[in-house]
């Protein structure tokens, strides 16, 4: 059986995609930019950051493009004053929730959060900062996790579980108290599951995960070719 082809419009332009594709996939295939943060090609979609929200005609709610499947006749809007307002609020809340000091951060100049702030025209943070007292775990011989810069996107959790197959990371607590933990909340260096592959470090969009010995602006994240790694994994070779 062949997969049906569906036709829809994105920002007024007629496009088509395969049934089962998400709005984000079809939008990217057709050159539309939708900002994303928790989504990463090759990992399952968490749909948690809400940055990729779009408007769908006939629905008052906003829909996350990375987990919403296309439908025949759908009319999608990827940018509007309202969407920009929400996207800015999301980024500003991420900045105010933890301690971000770009000027002295290991990924200054190549951070997804910093770049998104600039792309969305954010020149100050309207919300008061929470300034939480959060740990930095440098117990691993090669890597560090700095919870001050973590935005809880769970890319590290997913890459470690889904691609590396180690599932070292998880999330403890709820809401604003949520925190990434290794194994059963042990220091990363004591983890019995971590293979030291470094995948989590390189998918992390911020300076929360970095290599030891990297100073301000020295940490560059490498693209890992996750869809390729996933395909190899699925083949079992």
């Amino acid at each position: 059986m062949t997969t049906p082809i569906l036709t829809l419009t994105i920002d007024g332009k007629e496009v088509s995609g395969l049934a089962g594709e998400t709005i984000l996939q079809v939008a990217r295939e057709n050159g539309f930019f939708i900002p994303t943060l928790c989504w990463l090609d090759g990992l399952t979609s968490a749909g948690s950051c809400r940055l990729c929200m779009v408007e769908i005609k006939g629905s008052a709610a906003l829909h996350p493009a990375c987990i919403t499947l296309i439908q025949e006749g759908m009319a999608v809007t990827t940018s509007s004053e309202r969407l920009l307002r929400y996207r800015r609020a999301i980024i500003e809340l991420l900045f105010s929730e933890r301690n971000h000091v770009c000027a002295v951060c290991v990924v200054n100049g190549h951070c997804e959060l910093q770049t998104l702030a600039q792309q969305l025209g954010i020149d100050h943070i309207s919300f008061p900062g929470l300034y939480p007292d959060l740990p930095v775990d440098a117990s691993h011989p090669r890597f560090v996790i700095d919870h001050n810069r973590c935005i809880l996107c769970t890319r590290c959790v997913r890459v470690c579980g889904e691609i590396e197959g180690a599932h070292t990371w998880d999330v403890k607590n709820r809401g604003v108290r949520s925190q990434i933990v290794a194994d059963f909340d042990t220091p990363w260096g004591d983890s019995t599951t971590c293979t030291g592959c470094g995948k989590c470090v390189h998918v992390c969009p911020t300076g929360a995960l970095f290599e030891k010995g990297k100073s301000v602006a020295e940490m560059f994240k490498k693209p890992l070719g996750l869809p390729y790694l996933k395909a190899i994994r699925d083949l079992g070779v």
């Binding site: 000091v101 000027a103 200054n108 910093q114 025209g121 020149d123 100050h124 943070i125 008061p128 300034y131």
Partner: protein, 178 residues
């Protein structure tokens, strides 16, 4: 020739890097001063903040009751208030103390090591607020210029726009940490 605009610059809890960026505009400073009179600044010798200022650029976070008092005075006397650089815009590096508060920071810097006669300097120094905060937590701000420091080109572009009466959205090639 139009009347020159009156420019003031201030330096609160910052490192002076933003003022260095202003000086880094080099000979373009002359282009700016063709339209601007610097009426108050760490760069000129004026003691009292004047009553009527067109544009005031403020570097640094607000860190003491004295900063707060001065900021309100400055806001009331200025037509446009510009938050100049990350410390004024977000609190930035001075705000790293906000996690534990000012007394803990002073203790860790001055008395936690093995120095000779460790003591926290207090004589003739303003008391610190517990938190270093951005300007807009205290007064309305008309233009935010992020960057640590914002580059000379950014400052030149921003000031040129303000000189020409453009106070709407000014696209600047800068970001937090730039």
């Amino acid at each position: 020739m139009m009347e020159k605009l009156r420019l003031a610059t201030l330096w609160f809890d910052g490192c002076s890097g933003c003022h260095m960026s202003l000086l880094d505009t080099d000979e373009r400073l002359l282009e700016l001063t063709a339209f601007l009179d610097i009426v108050y600044s760490p760069l000129v010798d004026v003691k009292e903040f004047p009553d009527k200022v067109d544009i005031t650029c403020v570097e640094g976070a607000i860190s003491s009751p004295e900063d707060e008092r001065m900021l309100v005075r400055v806001r009331n006397s200025s037509r446009l208030l510009v938050a100049l650089g990350d410390c004024a815009v977000t609190g930035n590096i001075p705000a790293m103390r906000n996690i534990e508060g000012a007394p803990a920071m002073l203790r860790s810097i001055y008395t936690s090591g093995n120095g000779l006669q460790p003591q926290i300097p207090a004589l003739d120094l303003p008391a610190l607020n517990d938190k270093a905060l951005p300007l807009h937590r205290f007064v309305p701000v008309d233009l935010f210029i992020p960057g640590c420091p914002p580059g000379a080109d950014t400052l030149f572009t921003a000031l040129t726009a303000l000189i020409h009466g453009n106070t709407g959205h000014i696209a600047l090639p800068t970001c937090f940490g730039a």
